[in-house]
């Protein structure tokens, strides 16, 4: 019972806070999603049939047009940045960065499990996300959007996060 209470506190309280976020938080997250691309190196042997740098959103899209506006005309590593919305991990082919929407909360471990070995940078919301095996999770520090990094997860996928990014990261988990 105590564990349930703790779990509730861990899940519900952040969600409760989530509900009160400022509208600008989505814009910041959208911008950060794109910025992560600049500080992460993907392994050279990654099979990439497309020149396009895809940022994918799995589940219900919280950004709407904001993300598309943010990446419009941007280029990372010579590839045009584009947004793709997918329904399941099986559609993640070609995605570099995958934002797992809070709507997938219930099946998160399965989703993350399915994405193992695809070399995609997984980003989610709340500290639970990284604890469940996600790579980067957006958190709050007061009203400011920060993020934590799960280095064990990124190492497993052979993704190299720049030290500069790690210095900026609110918390780094091994």
């Amino acid at each position: 019972m105590r564990v349930v209470c703790l779990a509730w506190a861990l899940v519900y309280v952040p969600l409760h806070v989530w509900a009160q976020r400022s509208p600008a938080a989505e814009e910041v997250e959208a911008a950060y999603l794109y910025q992560f691309g600049r500080y992460v190196d993907w392994p050279a042997d990654r099979q990439d049939n497309s020149d396009t740098f895809f940022i994918c959103v799995l589940g219900t899209d919280p950004f709407g047009a904001t993300l598309d506006e943010t990446v419009a005309g941007r280029v990372i590593g010579g590839g045009q940045v584009a947004v793709r919305r997918i329904a399941g991990p099986d559609e993640s082919q070609g995605c570099r960065i995958l934002f797992v929407s809070p709507s997938e909360e219930s099946r998160m471990p399965e989703v993350l499990k399915a994405l193992e070995g695809t070399g995609v940078l997984t980003v989610g919301r709340g500290p639970t996300f990284t604890r469940q095996g996600g790579m980067i999770a957006f958190t709050f520090e007061g009203r400011k959007v920060r993020f934590v990094v799960n280095l064990a997860a990124t190492d497993a996928e052979a993704l190299t996060l720049s030290s500069q990014l790690l210095r900026v990261a609110g918390r780094v988990e091994k």
């Binding site: 910041v28 950060y32 910025q35 600049r38 500080y39 400011k144 959007v145 920060r146 993020f147 720049s162 500069q164 990014l165 210095r167 900026v168």
Partner: protein
């Protein structure tokens, strides 16, 4: 304070070397300081720009992910350089993002350069450098570093102190060195000046300037100066010797002249005394001869044959003439003894008196007397009467052959002094005997033609000499004669000599 241009050469040289040394060191020091400051500044800007660039690179993600703490961590690395006073990162909008050093409140937001250009400003003792944070063409913000220039200033201060010390030492060394060098310049000049002053003040030409050991222009100057002095000294000695010789000669001459004069005066006196006594003593026998000849004629005139009477008349004529001669000689001798009694007298009245006497004596002769007015002069009137009597008597006498005699007395002006003349149209004489005219007993005519004693003109000359005057004559044989005389010192020469 002595003015520089009036200072001695030694002082001038000393100051010149000190001045030149100072100027050279000041210029070199200033140039070095300027170069040091400029190069320090430019290298400072370069180094600071590198640091700013590093900070810009490292703070790029902090700006992107809005993490001021990370940026402050980056900035805190500046601790290694204590000269960095403050550092700040501004966002592209110009807001202060992160800071280091001073209170963040001391970072004016609006001061951030909004543009993307790097700038460096030196403000007082600080360098303010703005460096843009640009990533892939996107201007993220600005790094501002403020660098204290205390090191530079303390370096410059230290250098200035060193320069002053070096300057002082250099001036001292330069003065010591120049003291040695200038000894070869100023000492000879000073010696020269001292010698020149001695020569000028004491007229001592035996002074010599000690010759210089060097072989420069000053040595030549000293040698020339000494040479000149030697020559002046020699000439001075010559002049002195000549002067002495001249003086000796002069003294000898004067002595001889006074000796001769004394001799002459003695002879003259003797002669006058002799003449006087002879003339005086001659009178008594003459009177006896004449007296007895007269007795003979008076007592025995009837008994004597005519021839004897004629002889007696000749004897008496001879004694009469001799009496005249003795009188004249006595007059002449008397003139030698007495001084003229000078007073201002009109010459015209004297001439008229003399001419009046002569007119009476020459009644029956046709004589044209032309007597012009004569000046008043200072003279002895009695003696001047003797002069005119002689001259006019001569004129009357030597014009006797003329049917109509013309005797002209007048005065002309020569050199501001009157010259009196007596002109006649008589027989005249040849100018070649002119020098014998005024000698005693000198006669130019035979006594048979013109009577006379030959003493008259000698008497005239003596009188005029006594008046410090002169007499001379112009004549031509058979054309008449003209006698000129002056009174009172002016030795006027013959008008047509």
């Amino acid at each position: 304070m002595l003015r520089f241009r009036d200072a001695t050469i030694k002082t001038k040289l000393t100051w010149t070397s000190a001045l030149v040394t100072s100027i050279a060191l000041l210029l070199a020091g200033s140039a070095f300081v300027a170069y040091y400051v400029i190069s320090f500044r430019s290298s400072l800007v370069r180094n600071l720009s590198v640091q700013a660039e590093t900070i810009a690179l490292n703070s790029e993600p902090a700006l992107r992910f809005d993490d001021p703490r990370s940026a402050e961590g980056t900035l805190s690395a500046l601790r290694a350089d204590p000269n960095v006073v403050t550092a700040a990162i501004y966002t592209a909008a110009g807001d202060l993002f992160a800071s280091y050093g001073a209170d963040p409140g001391g970072f004016p937001a609006e001061a951030a350069a909004p543009g993307g250009a790097a700038t460096a400003r030196f403000q007082g003792r600080r360098l303010e450098l703005d460096h843009p944070i640009v990533s892939e063409g996107e201007h993220l913000g600005t790094v501002r570093l403020t660098y204290g220039l205390d090191d530079l200033y303390s370096d410059v201060t230290r250098f200035v102190v060193i320069a002053i010390v070096v300057l002082a030492c250099s001036i001292m060394v330069a003065l010591l060195a120049s003291a040695r060098i200038q000894r070869s310049v100023s000492d000879p000049v000073a010696r020269l000046a001292a010698a020149a002053q001695t020569v000028s003040r004491e007229e001592d030409y035996s002074v010599r300037v000690e010759p210089s050991r060097n072989r420069d222009e000053l040595a030549t100057l000293i040698d020339t100066f000494n040479d000149m002095l030697a020559r002046i000294q020699a000439r001075e000695a010559e002049i002195e010797a000549g002067k002495q010789r001249f003086q000796v000669l002069n003294e000898e001459l004067e002595q001889r002249v006074s000796q001769r004069t004394a001799e002459l005066e003695a002879i003259n006196k003797e002669l006058e005394a002799f003449t006087y006594s002879v003339s005086h003593d001659l009178r008594a026998p003459l009177r006896r001869i004449d007296g007895f000849a007269k007795l003979l004629v008076d007592e025995y005139g009837g008994d004597l044959p005519d021839e004897a009477k004629h002889y007696l008349a000749r004897v008496r004529e001879g004694t009469r003439q001799m009496g005249l001669l003795v009188d004249d000689l006595l007059n002449l001798a008397r003139l030698g003894r007495q001084e003229p009694r000078l007073q201002v007298a009109g010459l015209s009245s004297i001439v008229e008196r003399v001419a009046g006497v002569l007119k009476r004596d020459t009644e029956g002769r046709d004589i044209d007397w032309q007597l012009q007015p004569l000046p008043f002069v200072e003279c002895d009137p009695a003696l001047l009467e003797v002069v005119f009597t002689n001259l006019l008597s001569n004129a009357v006498k030597y014009t006797r052959p003329r049917a109509r005699a013309v005797i002209h007395v007048g005065a002309i002006e020569e050199n501001g002094h009157p010259v009196i003349f007596v002109r006649d149209n008589g027989v005249g004489f040849s100018m070649k005997y002119a020098d014998k005219l005024f000698g005693v007993f000198q006669r130019l005519h035979r006594a048979e033609d013109f009577e006379g004693t030959g003493v008259g003109l000698a008497t005239v000359q003596r009188i005029l000499h006594k008046h410090a005057g002169a007499i001379w004559a112009e004549a031509e044989l058979d054309k008449g004669a003209c006698f000129y005389f002056t009174l009172g010192g002016t030795a006027a020469g013959p008008i047509n000599a």
